[in-house]
């Protein structure tokens, strides 16, 4: 499953994993902005971007083929628009859609695969994202897989009992019932979670993941990641 793999990747050890989450987030955002503002036919730029991403992926010791194939999940959607754009004669834009969407997805994946989500959220909070939103995202991510598994179990159970037999109408109603039960369980779970938090002395925020001090290595990483990209784009 996607998330299990991503969790494993994000907890590996490499020179990139050890960099501060704030620096990685900043580098990724600058990179994304530069990619988004590049004209589609600037080949020199796109080759440089790809080279920087390949280097960043390799230094992070991520399996490059797996990373690429995951980033390519965005391609089918782009192909549809790419083809119509190409047919309508705007070849540059058609290429731009594909290049930018793919490189951007790769960047996002690289960030998520080298930084555990709690650290990424901590960095986002440091940059000023509201604490309530961060808390909601944290809870969402924690229970996302628990609830998805529950939904999957319910689906299997339903399939075992009735299979996909029966009138569409009754199947539809059964699916609605299943969702209602999932909703009820989620509601009760949230209640239980809060009671458990209270009994452990919840003070309004999670124990902080220490962000630590920025080091020279962090600064060097930022420069290495960002300078070539900006240089090739604007010089």
């Amino acid at each position: 499953m996607h998330h299990v793999l991503l969790e494993r990747w994000s907890r590996a050890i490499s020179p990139v994993h050890q960099r501060d989450a704030r620096i990685k987030l900043l580098a990724a955002l600058i990179f994304l902005i530069v990619v988004a503002t590049t004209p589609p036919l600037a080949w020199r730029c796109f080759v440089t971007y790809a080279a920087v991403l390949i280097a960043a992926t390799l230094i992070a010791r991520l399996p490059i083929a797996a990373v690429l194939s995951r980033a390519a999940l965005v391609v089918p959607f782009c192909i549809v628009f790419g083809i119509t754009t190409w047919v309508l004669g705007d070849h540059a834009r058609a290429l731009g859609l594909l290049e930018k969407a793919f490189l951007s997805a790769w960047t996002a994946l690289w960030l998520a695969a080298t930084t555990p989500l709690p650290r990424l959220l901590k960095a986002a909070e440091w940059y000023g994202v509201p604490r309530l939103l961060i808390l909601v995202i944290q809870f969402l991510y924690r229970y996302l897989f628990v609830l998805s598994e529950q939904a999957q179990h319910m689906r299997h159970a339903a399939a075992c009992r009735a299979g996909s037999q029966g009138a569409a109408r009754s199947l539809f109603r059964a699916a609605a019932g299943a969702l209602a039960v999932l909703f009820a369980r989620s509601y009760q779970r949230a209640d239980g979670i809060y009671r458990a938090m209270q009994s452990r002395g919840f003070t309004g925020s999670f124990p902080a993941v220490a962000l630590g001090r920025l080091t020279v290595a962090d600064a060097a990483f930022l420069l290495l990641a960002v300078v070539p990209v900006i240089a090739v784009r604007f010089l």
Binding site: V74, A105, P130, F139, A151, A190
Partner: protein, 311 residues
């Protein structure tokens, strides 16, 4: 409906990112003072519920199935403030963890789905009450508004979409919006059978006129966008005329300027200006709707993100 990076033109994604960041920040600040600490886990878990709900397929026609989108359901279960915040959290996880929707396009996706989608759902709900009609029309409008906004942003970004494709995708939006309506009605009715307290009754019956006015306005905007997109010639002609006028003044003012560059710049400026103006109009409309709906007491709205005590 998640727009990936690379599709929107720079002026558009920048505008939408700023607009969305401002709105989300304001939303969170309001909610921080209003949401009871005990409701924070509920908001996160409800977001996870919407994710998990995608695993349950609803048979629609033979061979095809569909799943819940969830914006309207969240709005009816948590109230629009909390629902918007939860949707922002969902979109953030989708962009950063699942690469579903771009990071630079997060602002656009937030405006389309977390803000416009959720708030659109509340208008018919307030107008028609928590009846089947109110729920159905609300969920329909929610998906419809999100889809049309996404399509409009792509068109304003200059992604050339032939009118046949615009018409086709509008049709697809309409059908999936109808399905979302049916699913939301069925699920909410089933939830009410388990515990009627979990579905929030619409509040603020008193300004009925405003409800009628707003729902009419939103429907008109949606269809206006559809018609304008299906017949882009009109838009094109308008832009052309504006461009010609602009170019004329440019040439007049800088007689020595390179013709080619002047033309290029005017095209870029024209597109940027048109894009920003259009999106500002849409955004202003969303804000106006929000401001009008905000007149009712906020406290019971957000706090009621919570539950009647479970036993």
């Amino acid at each position: 409906m998640h727009i990936p990076d690379g599709f929107l033109s720079t002026p558009i994604w920048i505008t939408l990112d700023f607009a969305a960041a401002g709105t989300a920040g304001w939303l969170a600040r309001r909610a921080t003072t209003e949401v009871d600490e005990s409701k924070i886990p509920l908001l996160g878990v409800m977001g996870a519920f919407v994710f998990a709900a995608q695993m349950i397929n609803f048979p629609v026609a033979p061979g095809t199935s569909n799943h819940l989108v969830g914006g309207a359901l969240l709005a009816y279960a948590l109230g629009p403030w909390a629902a918007s915040l939860v949707m922002v959290a969902i979109l953030a996880i989708q962009a950063f963890v699942f690469q579903d929707g771009g990071i630079m396009a997060l602002g656009a996706n937030t405006i389309n789905m977390a803000l416009a989608g959720v708030w659109a759902a509340t208008i018919p709900y307030r107008r028609f009450g928590a009846s089947r009609t109110g729920i159905f029309v609300g969920a329909w409008l929610s998906v419809m508004v999100s889809g049309c906004l996404a399509l409009t942003e792509l068109l304003l970004s200059g992604v050339p979409i032939p009118s046949a494709l615009v018409a086709a995708s509008s049709g697809v939006f309409c059908v999936s919006a109808l399905i979302e309506g049916a699913i939301t009605v069925a699920v909410l009715q089933a939830i009410e059978r388990i515990n009627p307290g979990w579905v929030r009754k619409p509040v603020g019956e008193r300004n009925r006129a405003a409800g009628v006015f707003l729902s009419t306005a939103v429907v008109l905007v949606v269809f206006g966008v559809l018609i304008a997109s299906a017949a882009p010639d009109g838009l094109e002609r308008l832009a052309e005329r504006a461009g010609v006028a602009h170019q004329a003044t440019t040439v007049y003012k800088t007689a020595l300027a390179d013709y080619q560059i002047a033309g290029f710049e005017s095209i870029w400026l024209r597109k940027a200006a048109a894009g920003i103006a259009g999106l500002a109009a849409i955004y202003g409309l969303c804000l106006a709707i929000g401001a009008l709906l905000r007149k009712r007491p906020l406290a019971d709205d957000v706090v009621a993100a919570g539950a009647p005590e479970l036993t």
